[in-house]
Point group: none
DNA sequence: GTCAGGCCTCACGCCGCGTTAGGGTCAATC
DNA sequence: GATTGACCCTAACGCGGCGTGAGGCCTGAC
């Protein structure tokens, strides 16, 4: 009863023979059978397990954690994935910061501009911002302060380049909603929900805390209640606020937890 | 003439004493002075150099490269930073893809959809794909085969989640172009160029090779010449192909090298 | 003189394998 | 049955960037 040899598995899966040896050594993937000559033979089950391993490895899990995750029930798997998602996002934010820093360094090296602190808040009139903050505290109570402070810290870290990129991104997303609204697409239709997914991602990138279902729904409510947000969306298209809210609520129900 | 001791430098800079030892060992940061007792003493110059080292380390440069960069003239430094920026951006793209994959996996785990091998190629009718491939080889010569094979390998690696996410992403981007075209925005205007940037990123995610200016321009040409692409874009809006091409060409000239 | 708290130099350990080095096994061909 | 060449094995070092000891010298305060 043959089974696959190391090099066959290697070819099928794309990993090296050495990697298979290694996984055997550390007990992550044992062959189904070992011949009297010491040859390793793998079966279908092992191929499936290897697929799982590679998937998690792709996601950046350390090998020992992969072992634990694969040998644990589904429940733990969800938790592990969620935790890992958080790590990845933190890393993504960090990477963006680094790119920005490089841009600034390059600018400075090339003798161009010294940074202009005021321009950094371009698009956010400071007076308005203060008012908005007061309004939020008034509306949601003092515990929202933490979040606001967190956002401010994040914003201080920001440099122009990032700011521009984020602005462009959200502008594109909002343009998509305007277009969808004009085309009469229902807010819970697939394309609009895909767009809403991008919106959620954008929010997740700005916001230092996980975007839960409740948080996203709250945000939708905020868009309707806060005059500045409302004005912003209505300026883009009549009924835009309501449309966006509907899309967000549908998305929250279907995709978030 | 005192100078700072290891622990003083450590406290000032935030690195460990061991790290200073290490940097001394590998010749990255030598003390200004070594006492008869073997004690290391650092001066202001060394503190400045350490700052530079830490800056580059933050950016993810390997230590040996940092050494070379610091001992090089400014223009080399610019080159190194630029190259590193590209690396970081690639990493950021990868991380984003991973986060999306996790999201989709979580959705699947929570009982929604089982992934369906056949559906994986949804949107790419296999017969059409074969035809398209033949056409490409005919048009660009056999050396394009490598790229096609690379893409196929990548596609085989793909899971459903990835595929869906990418489809949603490109659909959103194309919708943006349709909308911009309808609004009469010039193809080289800022918002359209930002959208084009997203398009380039999407291409970069699909394509296993770097998206150079020449490659992107070729792709623009391809969109016009290949009947399937042409049909695809014209189906979304009249004049869409030409519009997209104009945006891509402008982007290539301004942003790519 | 003695104690605490610097400082020093080895040197192993971590992670995920790549990469020799040195040697057995299998199938086909001479 | 002997050779060949493709495949298999184990064992062990190497990388990068230090953390974390172990074991011992220096210095200043009591």
């Amino acid at each position: 009863m043959g089974g696959y040899t190391v090099s066959e598995v290697a070819k099928l899966s794309g990993v090296s023979v050495r990697t298979l040896h290694h996984y055997d050594d550390i007990g992550l993937l044992k062959p189904a059978d070992v011949g009297a000559n010491g040859y390793r033979y793998y079966g279908k089950d092992e191929l499936l397990r290897l697929q799982q391993i590679l998937f998690h490895r792709e996601l950046g899990f350390p090998l020992d954690e992969i072992g634990r995750v694969l040998d644990a029930p589904d429940f733990d798997r969800v938790a592990a994935l969620t935790a890992h998602r958080t790590r990845l996002q933190a890393q993504a934010r960090r990477t963006r910061r680094l790119v920005r820093t490089i841009d600034d360094t390059l600018a400075a090296l090339q003798g161009a501009t010294t940074m202009d602190d005021k321009a950094m808040y371009r698009g956010f009139d400071p007076e308005k911002q203060a008012k908005q903050e007061a309004w939020l505290v008034d509306r949601y109570g003092p515990e929202i302060r933490k979040s606001i402070d967190a956002v401010k810290t994040v914003q201080k870290d920001w440099k122009q380049a990032d700011f521009d990129a984020a602005q462009a991104e959200i502008a594109g997303i909002e343009a998509g909603f305007v277009c969808a609204l004009a085309d009469g697409l229902p807010a819970d239709s697939a394309p609009v929900q895909a767009l809403t997914g991008r919106h959620r991602d954008w929010i997740a990138n700005q916001w230092p805390q996980p975007v839960t279902r409740a948080a996203y729904k709250n945000l939708a409510a905020l868009y309707g209640e806060h005059p500045d947000f409302h004005a912003r969306y209505e300026a883009q298209a009549a009924g835009m606020t309501e449309y966006l809210q509907a899309a967000m609520l549908a998305f929250a129900e279907r995709e978030l937890t």
